[in-house]
């Protein structure tokens, strides 16, 4: 009997260890965003902070006692999880606004130089690079109402690159060239590519032999993981005038036969994973849903941009459970760690909330938010539009100012009671 209990215990521990070892965006190829690790219910201290040369949009993952992430200073970093001391740094040819995946000793990450990199996870040495047809941001004439109306602008809110999902030795990722790629993890050989009609910066979710990803062409796609053949596609909203309410920037989550994805058209869609038939939609009156949703038990969680709410609902019906106001726009996906939700905001805060009620437990302000350069934020965390968008022809200036105050785009990682996240102030933070 003792032996049976021990075997059962070992099996449970092995499963738990495996779950914690999936070093990938949102904790695995289906993007669960849920960990059994408990996030602190009270803020205690900054355990360490690690400075980089640029902003951080990438999300941290952990393996081998290291924290891995990318920086828009073109570097991929491995930092000791305990001390915050750099183990290695490898430079790519462009900003690394993608989250690494670490599998079988290899690290896979996408750079704005249009390449998928495979690095040795322990040394950072480059093993191979796979060249796509080239990265680019989503762009459109007069996007978001920018002037002049006939000028084509890259979308300043298209901040993330697609993060690789790795299943059975195959690396799946999207690209600004409009393709969704499947590449052999061992040698970087192309397995297949699937063409959409615009930028794919959504990170593919893979479950049940199907790859799910959205495109800025307004469609959400389900593709056979083995062949690259289309299974089904679903169309979100369109916005041919200012291109503000169009495109799947969000990355999907797959749970219990339903695929959940946010959309720039301000809906959160729940779709049947096998057929693409709409199960329900949750509308947010113009507010984008950029984040990747999390599903814990029967609860679906996500955050919104302009209305800046954390929203919890029944995962099968879409019936609201609670809506709680955050301190800023939310691009950072919610991580559920034990009975706590953690997420970042545009106001430069990392917020911890009670899972059951959504109420704020504690909030941490980044160095950049405390400094508040250009007075880009109001004391309540709103964007200070007078100082950020202070001319009608504001595109470049706004880009610099809006992202300066320590914005947290990065999705938090919770491991061994420590919360890790990056900020546009250039720091990777570890707090507990």
């Amino acid at each position: 009997m003792k032996q049976l209990i021990w075997m059962a215990l070992t099996a449970v521990l092995a499963v738990a260890a495996f779950a914690d070892d999936v070093a990938m965006f949102r904790g695995g190829p289906a993007h669960p965003g849920v960990t059994s690790d408990q996030a602190p219910r009270e803020f205690h201290r900054v355990k360490w902070k690690f400075p980089t040369g640029g902003r951080i949009y990438s999300s941290p993952v952990t393996a081998n006692g290291l924290i891995y992430f990318g920086g828009d200073d073109s570097n991929v970093y491995a930092v000791d999880a305990e001390t915050g001391v750099q183990k290695w740094m490898t430079t790519t040819g462009g900003p690394v606004n993608s989250t690494p995946a670490v599998v079988d000793g290899n690290l896979y990450v996408v750079s704005f130089d249009g390449r998928l990199y495979c690095l040795d996870a322990l040394t950072g040495d480059i093993k191979w690079k796979f060249a796509t047809e080239g990265e680019r941001r989503f762009e459109a004439k007069g996007i978001h109402g920018f002037k002049p109306r006939n000028q084509t602008f890259p979308d300043l809110f298209d901040t993330f690159l697609s993060s690789p999902a790795v299943v059975d030795g195959v690396v799946y990722f999207g690209c600004g060239d409009g393709n969704i790629y499947a590449v052999n993890g061992s040698d970087g050989e192309l397995k297949w590519k699937f063409k959409t009609n615009d930028v794919v910066h959504s990170s593919p979710a893979v479950a049940g032999g199907i790859v799910y990803a959205g495109s800025w062409d307004s469609y959400f796609y389900a593709i056979d993981a083995a062949t690259g053949a289309l299974k089904w596609k679903f169309q979100g909203g369109e916005d041919p005038v200012i291109h503000n309410q169009v495109g799947f920037q969000s990355s999907p989550t797959v749970k219990d036969g339903i695929v959940y994805t946010g959309c720039r058209d301000s809906n959160l869609y729940a779709l049947d994973a096998l057929t693409g038939k709409e199960v329900f939609r949750s509308n947010n009156q113009g507010s984008w849903v950029i984040v990747t949703p999390a599903v814990v038990g029967d609860t679906l969680l996500y955050g919104t941009s302009d209305s800046r709410v954390v929203r919890a609902m029944d995962a099968k019906t879409g019936k609201d459970k609670y809506l709680e106001k955050a301190q800023g726009f939310i691009f950072s996906s919610p991580t559920v760690a034990g009975d706590v939700i953690v997420h970042g905001t545009f106001a430069g805060t990392l917020e911890a909330r009670d899972l059951a009620t959504g109420k704020l437990l504690w909030s941490f302000r980044t160095d950049g938010a405390k400094q508040n350069p250009f007075w880009a934020l109001t004391p309540t965390g709103d964007m200070n539009t007078q100082f950020v968008f202070n001319t009608q022809y504001f595109y470049l200036e706004a880009t610099v100012k809006e992202f300066a105050p320590g914005v947290v785009f990065s999705t938090p990682l919770v491991s061994k009671g420590v919360v890790y996240f990056g900020s546009t102030d250039g720091n990777m933070y570890a707090i507990d």
């Binding site: 400075p51 980089t52 040369g53 640029g54 200073d73 480059i126 093993k127 400094q371």
Partner: protein, 230 residues
């Protein structure tokens, strides 16, 4: 006994400056319109040589290795030639940190750096010698409109990696290489004035390397083979 004491005193005198200087320093330069954070790391290598690197958050400068570091008593001088315009930091140990002057592209600003912990000096891979199996002459052809012959001479000089690249097409071009790294199984050669990069993985002991040459938006794969006897 006196001789012994003198030796100990001498040892203390030589060790002390290192101990007092090595560390991570952080400060802010008040430039017009913006406060620029600076993180400076200084330590000493295994042969006692002074080393340094710098981080300029927001300017995409992370762990730029110092091309020159001199320490004279409480005075420190660091140069970072790899940063556009060249950066120099002249500093004096003071007030639990450094009173310093920052120079870049002809602009000068005084600032103070606080000592915040142990040094974490970044050493560029371009400072690591090439492995023995890369040393030698390699030749290969690539085609862009017409076929060009490329000769690559790899060697170490003064413990630093060096690459000489010659391209023979309609004329002979000696490529102005300014960055070489080959440690870790991946060769990277850059010629910034040409916007050219030659790179690829190399296998230990192999007599050929599959490379990609990138310039002017082109990416051309080609193979170089070791010239026999070289």
């Amino acid at each position: 006994m006196m001789h012994m004491n003198l030796m100990i005193l001498f040892a203390l005198a030589t060790v002390h400056p290192q101990d007092s200087v090595d560390g991570r320093y952080e400060g802010v330069i008040h430039m017009p319109m913006i406060d620029q954070r600076v993180i400076l790391d200084i330590d000493h290598g295994p042969k006692g040589e002074a080393r340094g690197s710098i981080i300029l958050p927001g300017l995409n400068v992370k762990g730029e290795s110092a091309t020159k570091v001199t320490i004279d008593g409480d005075k420190i001088h660091c140069e970072f030639a790899g940063i556009y315009g060249g950066v120099e930091v002249n500093a004096t140990l003071a007030n639990s940190g450094l009173d310093a002057e920052f120079k870049q592209a002809g602009n000068v600003a005084p600032f103070h750096l606080d000592r915040i912990g142990a040094a974490q000096v970044d050493l560029s891979k371009s400072l690591i010698p090439l492995p023995d199996d890369l040393i030698g002459t390699w030749k290969g052809d690539y085609t862009a409109d017409f076929t060009r012959h490329l000769t690559l001479v790899l060697k170490n000089e003064g413990g630093l990696p060096v690459a000489e690249v010659t391209v023979v097409g309609k004329r002979v071009t000696k490529v102005p290489v300014d960055h070489v790294e080959g440690a870790g199984g991946y060769l990277v050669i850059k010629a910034s004035p040409f916007g050219m990069t030659i790179e690829g993985p190399h296998k230990k002991g192999a007599d050929e390397i599959k490379l990609t040459i990138s310039y002017a938006g082109l990416e051309i794969p080609f193979t170089v083979r070791r010239e026999k006897g070289k």
